[in-house]
């Protein structure tokens, strides 16, 4: 029996190519994602292993060694105290600053807006376990305020060589530095910065530039004598530390520092795997369809096997065996393709500044286990229904001329589909409106159930459309149109199932386009409503910049005032929240803030306005105290009122600048709003400020319109990225259309021969198949867009509280999706139509 299945598989390999391909793509997506994120993981773990000594000492209040934008440091003399301890080989003070960027010869910030720019003091302290960290390996160590070293990759990207005068932008007091490049740094024992940039200064210069001249350090690395463990060393060091400093073993510090990034990587993994899952769901549609068609085509042969004594189980098992082979072959190819995909993903992330070329790909065994498990299981599950149906073929069918496959009743299907849609609606309502844990699962599950429900009910739902299309075709294309229309109606299950696969991808694309359009409209709306200043100086990601930028702007002619805002993260109740700092007296002149209770005028030292949503969610009232864990110690801020958050001001609490600075945050601005003197042309002032900050490419000045455009851009980019990820699912669905058409051409070989014999020209035949293809593609797109509109509107209405106040349905894009589906329909028909047109009339007619 297996032998027969094997033979049939070989005999039909061409017909199985497409379903194999669907598995290949889905598995490749999974494999690519896992390889990439494993690699990402390893590379960051390696980075953090390189960023700690055997024991590290930090200010108690600073949560990790990358959290450095504070004014809290360890005193310099602590290094000598520790160095004298027993079991300590050496102790080295480290200065670490972020927001220090190298500007390339082309006036571009190296790394762009994404990877951090670090500055370190120069020393040769070994990292934990004796690893040599980033250090000068070429040229010489920098000495004095006019010399710098930088990591090799950054220098290459910037186009700098030793001896060049380089331009460096800092977020601290002196915004622009122009030292000479004297040294190039690298990791002698291997390591990478993953696209981050590093500049290295002598210790005194680093302290002067980044620690406001204090003799202090952000962290101290302690190196153990031989035979002294990290734990023993930590205990020794801890005994001499003052209360505001603490010691951690290097291993622990690396874990702590890495944990937040690894969390982000987990998010990326899940994010990508969701799309892999979508691709697999769509792929399983293709497999169900292919196996259904193959079983139908072979029904006489299967009936013959039954007549010859094969049991039902043997018949269905032989179909499942074919599915198993398809799954195994598809997984194998998918693994190979997945490696290539990982290369591609690495490249794409590289374009966003995350450079992973320094880390070899990680091939974890579980990646391959997952690939095969997913590939084979998905194929088997998808083939299960057709296999079960094949077992229901009666043996007597072998003797009959035309074999009708046993089919489930349409009415039952419709009922089941509608029930699933109801369940889906319930799940989405729960996820979108109720306060339940794991909202994403409720919403995602609801969307999936709705799509599957519609797919199940689609033969019935699609009927009116198919009838309409058939009538339209008949009217416009005559008999060719009638044939095409009738063919689409011939097997509404098949037409609808093929279209449903496309529907899934299209629904998500439509949802995204609504979410994107709405988000952009909300940004515009919020900026138009709230931004009442004339100009704003900032950068896209809210990266802090030097206060001297605002000083320069103040000096520009025509400027009335510059209003600075700052924000930083600190803990409230164990969770990291944003704290904003503004100038209450002037902020209202540039930004309209809707407040309840007290207003900006009430924000004096130790007071704050709290974000409305946060207050509601956590039960804060006017007069309550919020306990913030600031770098300089715990501080309770008094809530004097609440404000309505918007795109520009969203912090949990907004306080005045004095309170903000006193808490221990570095003096860095995140946005500077400019008002122009009455009667002065804004364009003129913008140009003047631009001249002032031209040498500082980390920030730009823009008017309201340009500001809105800048804020919209990342939304566009995100939507495009998601389109690209959904593209995989759509490609699979289109392969499904090709597959269905190709299989039905094979199935109708004799009929096609007949049509050709009685005078249908090749062109007419191609047109007929093209028209059938368009019906499927447009049906899928229409169903998808309809579902997408429902999802999109539901999603946006639930996000109204999150500042996305506008729901916009981009009708032009949605119409374009449907129209392009028609064009794609023409394209998918090309191969099947060519195959049909090439059929030899005589052999076609003689085909059994």
């Amino acid at each position: 029996m297996l032998h027969a299945a094997w033979r049939s598989l070989l005999g039909r390999k061409v017909r199985l190519v497409m379903s194999t391909f669907a598995i290949v793509l889905g598995v490749a997506f999974v494999v690519g994602t896992l390889i990439f994120t494993d690699t990402l993981n390893r590379s960051f773990v390696a980075i953090f292993d390189n960023s700690v000594g055997d024991v590290v000492v930090q200010p108690t209040r600073v949560t990790s060694n990358v959290d450095v934008a504070t004014t809290v440091q360890l005193r310099g003399s602590l290094v000598d105290d520790i160095a004298q301890l027993d079991g300590v080989r050496r102790a080295d003070g480290k200065v670490v600053a972020a927001g220090v960027f190298v500007v390339g010869k082309n006036n571009k910030v190296i790394g762009g807006q994404g990877p951090p720019g670090f500055a370190f003091n120069d020393n040769d302290a070994p990292a934990a376990h004796g690893i040599r960290p980033l250090q000068v390996v070429d040229g010489r160590q920098p000495h004095g305020p006019d010399e710098v070293a930088m990591d090799v990759k950054t220098a290459v990207r910037a186009g700098y060589v030793l001896g060049d005068k380089v331009r460096i932008v800092s977020a601290t007091k002196r915004a622009l530095l122009t030292p000479t490049l004297v040294g190039l740094a690298d990791f002698p024992d291997g390591g990478t910065l993953n696209g981050a940039t590093a500049t290295i200064w002598d210790t005194r210069t680093a302290q002067r530039l980044f620690l406001e001249g204090r003799d202090g350090f952000n962290t101290i690395w302690v190196t153990a004598d031989d035979g002294v463990s990290q734990q023993e060393l930590r205990d020794k060091v801890a005994s001499v530390l003052p209360a505001d400093a603490r010691a951690m073993t290097g291993d622990k510090a690396a874990d702590v520092a890495a944990s937040r990034l690894l969390e982000a990587i987990r998010f990326i993994t899940i994010f990508l795997l969701v799309f892999a899952g979508i691709a697999l769901v769509v792929g399983s549609f293709l497999i169900i369809n292919t196996f259904s068609i193959l079983v139908a085509q072979r029904s006489r042969e299967l009936a013959l096997l039954r007549a010859l004594g094969a049991s039902r189980r043997q018949v269905s098992r032989s179909v499942l065996f074919e599915a198993f082979v398809v799954g195994a072959v598809g997984s194998t190819i998918g693994v190979g393709l997945g490696v290539l995909l990982a290369v591609a993903i690495r490249y794409v992330f590289g374009r966003f500044g995350l450079d992973l070329s320094g880390t070899a790909f990680v091939f974890a065994p579980r990646t391959f286990l997952a690939a095969y498990a997913i590939g084979i299981v998905v194929t088997l599950v998808a083939a299960y229904l057709p296999a079960r149906r094949s077992a229901r073929i009666a043996p007597v069918a072998a003797l009959r001329d035309d074999v009708a496959m046993p089919e489930s009743s349409m009415r039952l299907r419709f009922a089941v589909g509608m029930l699933m849609c109801l369940a889906a609606a319930a799940m989405m309502v729960v996820g979108l409106t109720l306060d339940v844990p794991k909202k994403g699962y409720w919403v995602g599950g609801g969307i999936l159930a709705a799509l599957l429900g519609v797919a199940v009910a689609s033969p019935v739902l699609a009927k009116p459309f198919l009838l309409l299309a058939a009538a339209g075709y008949r009217a416009v294309f005559g008999s060719v149109g009638r044939l095409a229309g009738q063919n689409s109606l011939r097997n509404p299950r098949r037409t609808a199932a093929t279209a449903s696969a496309l529907m899934i991808g299209m629904a998500l694309v439509a949802t995204m386009s609504i979410a994107g359009a709405s988000a952009k409209a909300s940004v515009d709306d919020s900026i138009a409503k709230n931004f009442v200043g004339d100009l704003v100086i900032s950068n896209l990601i809210g990266q802090g910049f030097s206060p001297s930028v605002g000083d320069r702007a103040e000096r520009a002619p025509g400027v009335e005032s510059v209003v600075r805002t700052r924000f930083a993260q600190a803990s409230v109740g164990g969770r990291r929240e944003f704290l904003g700092g503004v100038d209450p007296a002037h902020f209202g002149a540039v930004m309209r803030l809707r407040t309840t209770g007290g207003g900006l005028a009430d924000v004096d030292d130790g007071a704050c306005l709290m974000n409305e949503d946060y207050a509601k969610e956590h039960g804060y009232d006017r007069g309550d105290l919020v306990a913030w864990q600031m770098p300089k110690g715990n501080q309770a801020l008094r809530v004097v009122g609440t404000y309505e958050g918007n795109g520009a001001v969203f912090a949990t609490c907004v306080t005045n600048l004095a309170t903000f600075s006193a808490a221990g945050f570095q003096a860095q601005d995140n946005a500077a709003f400019v008002t122009v003197k009455p009667g002065v042309d804004v364009t003129f002032v913008e140009a003047a400020i631009n001249e002032q900050i031209a040498a500082l490419p980390t920030v730009t000045v823009k008017n309201q319109r340009e500001y809105a455009a800048e804020q919209r851009e990342p939304i566009d980019r995100l939507v495009l990225m998601i389109y690209a990820l959904l593209g995989m699912a759509i490609v699979i669905a289109l392969l499904g259309v090709v597959n269905t058409l190709a299989l039905s051409v094979i199935e109708r070989t004799r009929e096609i021969g007949l049509l050709r014999a009685i005078g249908l020209s090749r062109a007419q035949l191609r047109r007929m198949i093209g028209l059938e293809s368009i019906v499927i593609a447009v049906l899928g797109a229409l169903l998808g867009v309809a579902m997408g509109v429902i999802f999109g509107v539901a999603l946006m209405s639930s996000l109204r509280d999150e500042g996305l106040t506008v729901t916009r349905i981009p009708t032009v894009s949605l119409t374009a999706f449907v129209l392009s589906a028609a064009i794609v329909g023409v394209v998918t028909a090309v191969l099947p139509a060519r195959r049909a047109a090439r059929l030899d009339v005589l052999t076609a007619i003689a085909t059994e």
């Binding site: 008999s479 009738q486 009929e751 007949l754 009685i758 005078g759 249908l760």
Partner: protein, 256 residues
């Protein structure tokens, strides 16, 4: 259309399959006139080349050498498009296995060749055809709702609907019981008698052949005999004679 003229003419037709030692000469120099308004049967044992001859005449297959002329059209010079048009406008087909389009009703099937050509049926002719095939009450049915005999009558109507110069019928009764077969043959006969239709039928059934005006016997790719006004008995006699002749021919060849 009056009888006597040639509706089609075949000259020195050769068709070979394969090359070298594996070469099979399906047609080995056939010359034949298909007379207009005549019901012609082509008979012969399996492998005699009768189907190949029909396919070549009907522009479904291209001969290796020789000439086929339908009316005054030389087929050898025509490309695929012209051949398609010729099939559409000049030729009708009836197949052994009916070959109706399952998605279309009986009437839509009948009108299909015309509607592909974007032609309107000649109403008088069409009515006559419908009367002749006697399936008016079944026009709205799909093929799977019709009996074999009814399906074949629909197929005959389809072949006739465009008033083709020649109708080719390939074993039209092969899949039918004798009763339905007789009906279909009677129908073909009547279209020759009443409409002057030219029909060429390939068959190996002497009963079917007895309905025709003229039988051309093929053997090993050659015309080996001809008979006018056949009866079943004469056909059987002739076939027996040909078989004997053939056996005698083959006997001395050791390779057999």
């Amino acid at each position: 259309m009056s009888s006597g003229g040639a509706a089609a003419r075949v000259t020195d037709l050769v068709k070979t399959y394969g090359t070298g030692a594996a070469e099979v000469r399906a047609l080995d120099g056939v010359t034949l006139d298909i007379e207009a308004g005549v019901f012609t049967a082509i008979m012969g044992p399996s492998g005699s080349g009768k189907s190949t001859l029909m396919h070549c005449c009907a522009a479904l297959d291209t001969p290796t050498s020789g000439e086929v002329r339908i009316g005054d059209q030389q087929l050898g010079s025509l490309g695929d498009k012209a051949l398609t048009r010729l099939r559409r406008d000049q030729i009708g087909f009836v197949f052994q296995s009916f070959n109706l389009v399952p998605t279309l009703t009986a009437e839509e099937n009948i009108l299909l060749p015309l509607s592909i050509a974007r032609r309107k049926p000649d109403q008088e002719w069409y009515d006559g055809v419908l009367d002749a095939v006697a399936i008016r009450d079944r026009l709205g049915h799909r093929p799977n709702q019709l009996s074999g005999g009814q399906q074949q009558r629909v197929a005959v109507a389809r072949a006739l609907a465009s008033r083709p110069a020649i109708v080719f019928a390939d074993e039209p009764t092969g899949n039918l019981d004798s009763q339905s077969g007789a009906e279909v043959l009677g129908l073909l006969r009547r279209t020759v008698d009443e409409f002057g239709q030219t029909i060429v039928m390939v068959t190996h059934d002497p009963v079917a052949a007895a309905h025709t005006d003229r039988i051309v016997f093929l053997g090993d790719g050659r015309v080996v005999g001809e008979m006018r006004e056949p009866t079943r008995e004469r056909v059987l006699e002739q076939m027996a004679a040909l078989d004997a002749h053939r056996a005698a021919d083959l006997a001395p060849t050791p390779a057999g």
